[in-house]
C-alpha cells in the first residue's frame, strides 16, 4: 500500500533550518490499522500530511499503491487525494455553512459524478454513520461526535482505500472517542488501510501496530 524510502522534510525559516522528518523509511500493507505516536513536535502531522499528498517531501521516494507520488503536480495530487485518500481531522474541518448532506457530498463535486449517484452515495453514508435525521443540519447544531461522524462519512465519499486521521478523538470525550474507534474498526474490516495519529494509548490499542516518532525519526 505505502512504501517510503528515506523521506525527509526540511523547513527553512530565514537562517534557521528545521528537519521535521529525517530519512523515514516505512512500509504499510493494505488493510493495516496503524497508529502513529510520539511527543509534540516529533513530526507526526508532517508525516501524515506527506502520506496524504497534502504536502510534498524534501527528499526520498514515496510510492502509494505502486504509484510514484513524489513527482506529481498540484492538480494531480488533488486527484490522488480525491480518489484514494480520506482525511479525518482533530477539529473536523467541516464547511460551517453547509449541511451534513452537503458536507458529505463535497468530495464528489470534484470528480464529475452524476447527481443521482451522488445522492445514492450520500444516503448510504448517512445510514452508515447514523445521521439520516441530521442531514439538513449545520455543523454548529451537531455534537462533537456527530461532527466527527460527518467528517468520516465525507472521507468515505469516493470510497478511498486509505484513511488518514490526525488525532481524530482529540476533541472528543472518551465515550464518543470509543464510538469513533468502533467505526474505524469497521472500516478496517471493509479492507481499508488506516493511519491514525494519537496521544492516547487506549485509542492506539484499537490499532494492530504503532509507529513511534521522536525528533523526526522512527524509534
Amino acid at each position: 500500500m505505502i512504501e517510503m524510502e528515506r523521506i525527509s522534510k526540511v523547513y527553512r525559516m530565514g537562517e534557521v533550518r528545521l528537519e521535521a522528518l529525517k530519512e523515514i523509511s516505512l512500509r504499510i500493507e493494505a488493510a493495516e490499522f496503524i497508529s502513529i505516536m510520539g511527543p509534540s513536535g516529533s513530526g507526526k502531522s508532517t508525516l501524515l500530511n506527506i502520506i496524504g499528498c497534502l504536502d510534498t517531501p524534501s527528499g526520498g521516494s514515496y510510492f502509494l499503491e505502486e504509484k510514484n507520488v513524489a513527482g506529481l503536480g498540484f492538480d494531480e495530487l488533488s486527484t490522488v487525494r480525491n480518489r484514494k485518500i480520506g482525511f479525518v481531522f482533530q477539529n473536523f474541518n467541516l464547511l460551517p455553512y453547509a449541511t451534513t448532506y452537503e458536507n458529505i457530498e463535497l468530495p464528489m463535486l470534484f470528480n464529475g459524478r452524476s447527481g443521482k449517484r451522488r445522492r445514492e452515495r450520500v444516503r448510504e453514508l448517512l445510514e452508515m454513520v447514523g445521521l439520516v435525521e441530521w442531514q439538513h443540519h449545520r455543523p454548529s447544531e451537531l455534537s462533537g461526535g456527530q461532527q466527527q461522524r460527518v467528517a468520516i462519512a465525507r472521507a468515505l465519499a469516493n470510497d478511498p482505500s486509505l484513511i488518514l486521521a490526525d488525532e481524530p478523538t482529540g476533541n472528543l470525550d472518551s465515550k464518543t472517542g470509543e464510538e469513533i474507534m468502533g467505526l474505524f474498526v469497521k472500516l478496517q474490516g471493509q479492507g481499508r488501510t488506516i493511519l491514525m495519529v494519537t496521544h492516547d494509548t487506549h485509542i492506539a490499542s484499537y490499532s494492530q501496530r504503532t509507529i513511534q516518532l521522536l525528533d523526526g525519526r522512527i524509534v
Binding site: 500530511n49 492538480d75 463535486l109 465519499a157
Partner: protein
C-alpha cells in the same frame, strides 16, 4: 450541477448581506451612470444631427458670383450667370451626382384674405424637396406636371401657413403672391432647422415651380444651385467637375474659386458626426470609469472574502478540489455580483428614462432612449470589468497552500 452551482452562489452572497449589497450598489450605480450618460449622449447627437439635417442632407450648394481671373479672352470681374438649363445639363453630365437642383429666390408679398406677409418665395424643381428635406405634411409636394405646365401652385412652410390661415385648412385654397393667384397644394411638415443659407427658413417660405416663377417674375438666371453627390465622401471630386462643366458653359475658369462660391455641406456633416462620436466616446469613458470604481470595489472586497475563506479553500483542496474548481468558484461569484449589480443599475436607468418628461426636454436633448448601442456598450463594459475584478481574487484563491489553509 447547475442547480447546485446557483444554490451555492446565492448562499455565498446571502451569507454576507452588507458586503453583497455594498458591492451590488457600487456596480449598480456605475451601470446606472453609464446607461444614463450614453442614452443622453446619443440622444443629444441624434437631435443635433436631425436639426442640422433640417437644411438638407449630404448636399453641396453653390452661388454664382463674379470672375477674378481672365478666361479665354474674357476679362475678370464679369458676373457669372447661370441658366436652369445649364445647371441641369451639367448635373446630367457628371457621374456620381444623384440629384441636381437650383432655385430662384426673392422676398415677395403673399396674401390670403386680410392677412398679408412679406416672405421668401422660392422657385424650385421637384428634386429640390428631396435634397432639402421638404416633406408635405398635408397635401403634396410639387410634381413634374406642375413644372412642365407652369402651374400656379405652391407648397407653403408650416409657419407661414399658420400666419395666413390660422385654424383654417390651407390645402386647396388660393393665396396671392404679388397679386397673382396660386393654389396651395401642400403644407410642409414641421421640421427642426437650425441652419440656413439664403432667405428665410423653410417654415416661412412658399415653394412654387421654377418654370412658373421664371414666367411670372421674368428671372432668367438662378440664385443658387444645389446638388447631392451619390456618395458624400465623393463631394470634392464632384465639386471640381461641376466647376469645369459650368465654367465651359458660362465662361469662367475651373480654377477660379470665386466665380462659384461653394459650400460643401457634406463636410460640415462629417465634422459634425465626428464631433458627436467623440462626445459619446468621452461620455462612455466617464461612465466606464465610474463603473471601474465599482469593479475595484468588487475586486477588493472579494480579496478580503478569499482571505476570510482560506480555511474553506483548504478543506476543499484536501478533499480533492483542483485549482480550476477554486478559481471558478470565486470568479463566478465576482462576475455574478457585477452582472447582478449591472442588471439592477440597468433596470433602474431604464425606469428613470421611461419616467422622463419627454416633451419638456426633447427640444434640447432629444429623447434619451435605451437603444441597442447603449445596451451593447454597457454589457461589454460590464463584462470586461466583471472579468477583471473576478480574476484577481480568484487567482489568489487558487494559489492557496492547502496545509497552511487548514491550519487556520
Amino acid at each position: 450541477m447547475i442547480l447546485t452551482f446557483f444554490r451555492n452562489l446565492i448562499r455565498d452572497l446571502r451569507r454576507q448581506p452588507l458586503r453583497t449589497s455594498l458591492t451590488l450598489s457600487g456596480v449598480g450605480w456605475g451601470t446606472f451612470a453609464v446607461v444614463i450618460l450614453l442614452a443622453f449622449g446619443s440622444a443629444v447627437s441624434r437631435q443635433n444631427l436631425k436639426t442640422f439635417r433640417g437644411v438638407g442632407q449630404g448636399f453641396v450648394i453653390a452661388f454664382p458670383a463674379s470672375t477674378t481671373v481672365t478666361y479665354r479672352g474674357l476679362p475678370k470681374g464679369r458676373l457669372v450667370r447661370l441658366t436652369p438649363e445649364q445647371v441641369l445639363l451639367a448635373g446630367q453630365k457628371i457621374p456620381g451626382i444623384k440629384r441636381t437642383s437650383f432655385e430662384f429666390t426673392a422676398t415677395r408679398a403673399i396674401r390670403y384674405r386680410r392677412e398679408d406677409v412679406l416672405n421668401t418665395v422660392r422657385g424650385v424643381t421637384v428634386g429640390y424637396g428631396d435634397i432639402r428635406n421638404i416633406i408635405a405634411g398635408e397635401g403634396r409636394y410639387l410634381n413634374d406636371a406642375d413644372v412642365s405646365q407652369k402651374r400656379r401652385v405652391c407648397v407653403l412652410g408650416d409657419t407661414v401657413t399658420e400666419n395666413l390661415f390660422h385654424e383654417e385648412k390651407a390645402v386647396g385654397r388660393t393665396v396671392f403672391i404679388e397679386g397673382l393667384p396660386f393654389t396651395v397644394v401642400g403644407v410642409m411638415k414641421k421640421k427642426i432647422q437650425t441652419s440656413n443659407f439664403s432667405g428665410q427658413r423653410d417654415e416661412h417660405c412658399a415653394f412654387i415651380p421654377w418654370t412658373t416663377y421664371s414666367a411670372l417674375f421674368g428671372d432668367k438666371y438662378i440664385g443658387s444651385l444645389i446638388f447631392q453627390p451619390a456618395n458624400p465622401a465623393d463631394s470634392k471630386r464632384t465639386i471640381r467637375l461641376m466647376r469645369e462643366e459650368l465654367g465651359k458653359l458660362a465662361g469662367f475658369s475651373p480654377d477660379d474659386n470665386d466665380a462659384l462660391f461653394v459650400w460643401d455641406w457634406t463636410e460640415f456633416e462629417k465634422s459634425f458626426s465626428i464631433f458627436f462620436l467623440a462626445f459619446n466616446v468621452f461620455l462612455g469613458v466617464i461612465g466606464a470609469f465610474t463603473l471601474l470604481v465599482g469593479g475595484v470595489g468588487v475586486a477588493s472586497i472579494m480579496l478580503v472574502v478569499v482571505e476570510e475563506r482560506t480555511k474553506e479553500i483548504g478543506i476543499k483542496l484536501a478533499v480533492g478540489a483542483k485549482r480550476r474548481h477554486i478559481l471558478w468558484q470565486f470568479f463566478t461569484e465576482s462576475l455574478a455580483i457585477v452582472l447582478l449589480g449591472g442588471g439592477l443599475g440597468f433596470l433602474f436607468a431604464a425606469l428613470v428614462l421611461k419616467a422622463l418628461p419627454v416633451e419638456k426636454i426633447e427640444e434640447f436633448v432629444g429623447i434619451p432612449l435605451l437603444n441597442p448601442t447603449v445596451g451593447v456598450a454597457t454589457i461589454l463594459i460590464l463584462l470586461t470589468i466583471g472579468i477583471i475584478s473576478g480574476l484577481m481574487p480568484a487567482r489568489r484563491a487558487a494559489s492557496t497552500n492547502p496545509i497552511e489553509a487548514l491550519r487556520k
